[in-house]
Symmetry: C5
Subunit: 156 residues, 5 copies
Amino acid sequence: MKKVAIVDTTFARVDMGRYASDRLKSCGTGFTISRRTVPGIKDLPVAVRQSFQGGADLCMVVGMPGRAEYDKVCAHEASTGLILAGVLESKPVIECFVFEGEASDGKELETLAKRRAEEHAENAYAMLFRPQDLARKAATGQRQGFADAGAVRATR
Amino acid sequence: MKKVAIVDTTFARVDMGRYASDRLKSCGTGFTISRRTVPGIKDLPVAVRQSFQGGADLCMVVGMPGRAEYDKVCAHEASTGLILAGVLESKPVIECFVFEGEASDGKELETLAKRRAEEHAENAYAMLFRPQDLARKAATGQRQGFADAGAVRATR
Amino acid sequence: MKKVAIVDTTFARVDMGRYASDRLKSCGTGFTISRRTVPGIKDLPVAVRQSFQGGADLCMVVGMPGRAEYDKVCAHEASTGLILAGVLESKPVIECFVFEGEASDGKELETLAKRRAEEHAENAYAMLFRPQDLARKAATGQRQGFADAGAVRATR
Amino acid sequence: MKKVAIVDTTFARVDMGRYASDRLKSCGTGFTISRRTVPGIKDLPVAVRQSFQGGADLCMVVGMPGRAEYDKVCAHEASTGLILAGVLESKPVIECFVFEGEASDGKELETLAKRRAEEHAENAYAMLFRPQDLARKAATGQRQGFADAGAVRATR
Amino acid sequence: MKKVAIVDTTFARVDMGRYASDRLKSCGTGFTISRRTVPGIKDLPVAVRQSFQGGADLCMVVGMPGRAEYDKVCAHEASTGLILAGVLESKPVIECFVFEGEASDGKELETLAKRRAEEHAENAYAMLFRPQDLARKAATGQRQGFADAGAVRATR
């Protein structure tokens, strides 16, 4: 039985943690999901390390940085810390961030965040149970939340 | 009995350490608070690690970077170090920074800093004693010091 | 028998992993290649550490950051994490990134990515088996994917 | 007997190491000072770690980055490394940097650097021997080298 | 017998490794020099850690980042990694980088790179054998490759 930890924030404005959890469950069985909420994205790295030390095999973190320049700095700090936590524990961290500025209104933001959380959840499942699915999609221009870019078709 | 360490700076211009401490005490019981002051925000990461090694279960740091571009760089360095210290110790660090440039005059700065310190203190309490409160607020657009952004209402 | 791990992403749009693998094989013998695919470049540092802990002597990672400003930030975070993973394990990581914005159309992107992956693969081989080849090319302005800059000819 | 290590650089243009050392000595007794010089600020993090491993209880580093954009990058790298060294050793590092561009001529630069070094030296002394002095100055808008900003007086 | 490791790159366009090595030898005796070449500056941090683990007492790395914005990012990543490697091993890393954009033509680039490599080599020697020489030059505005800035003469 694998253990997946999903960590979300009170700062986010769309319930990506639930979308991620629901999609994960629909992917298959063989794992349990633990949920946890921290205040903001800068609290995620410590929560990730604690989750790994508590037995998680993979952490999925969802967050929604704001529109301001400072929010981008926070996201950068959080990402750097998430990579640090993952490297120190040598276990995968699926980071799913949606920047508020990526969408032009609430509906678009909700749609984007839902879709990205679900597609990252599928990646999380594949990393644990079906690495061959990721290998099959290697270099195919996959995007999470937006339409896939696709593989390059060189105009020969 | 849990131990909370609050670390503030001589650089800050509003007594956020006191506001944080007062609010924490009003949240409940079951913890002790230690206070410590360092010169500036770049001294916080080491103070945090020392506090954890001295038995703290959670560190709350409060600081007030100035208006200059260089102050933003210092805040970035401090934040990166705080995440490092938290990840190495695997214990939560509640970072509460107010940038002087966020407010237009002293009164606004005082109000903002007080409110942010208090709301982060509530988060600190919840992280230690009431994680279910954070879970209940997941993805509800919480902000500290400003009005909450709220959850997105998709205009469907 | 040396072990080389090649890690690529589903995000990339050109199959650099295959180009790297093919070129590596054509360089010589004495090594095995393992392949693995992760979703994006920010997942590479953990995959690298896991590969080293699984016995790899060298990791080659290939990725293709997009055109947006945010993609550059992700690439920076990934690179920092790759260096961290390499330093912690004290084993070489050959990073081969092609930014989508480096090429003006699909054909150019394909050509550039193929060539860069192949030339980095040659470097990987040299690092493991023929360090003298690298020494011989010291300070000769080698470039991967573009024409070499060459050694400076001081106009004396 | 506490041990303070002061590390300065050959790059700097004002003898901040001497100013720091003189002021430290005038603050009180109960400590010894070791001095060391490295080429530039990027050499400070290793020197700090070595000093701690040699028994220092606190390191004070003084440096003077130049005016160019690149100098700011170097200062950022040095600061990040200093925080890393401090956190790994869990001992305080007092960083005293004066950017050449902070002053408009040599006289001003000398005055600023002297004063900042002296005031940081006082902080170093307080951190080791009189933490209550720092606590008393908490949130009073202390500045090193310039006039203090002071606590905010909210115009209520 | 001390051990100095010099690591250079195939990316550089001027043979700074040789200039560094020649100057080091002319400084004195009591040490051996090992040479190694990696593809680019981002490969230096791992090479440095490996050199230290192989017994080196000091590493000198020479590199030549290109003119593009991306090259500056790479240099920043490399520098951060070099500081990390030095701090983890607690041994000095002399970083000698010449940015191609620092010179206006090949002759100038060759002259600058040669001189900087030689002057950094002198620093490396001093760090190992004559720390008093560095102490004597403390705060004298030393520059490597360009004319020294000199100590500030306050116009009192």
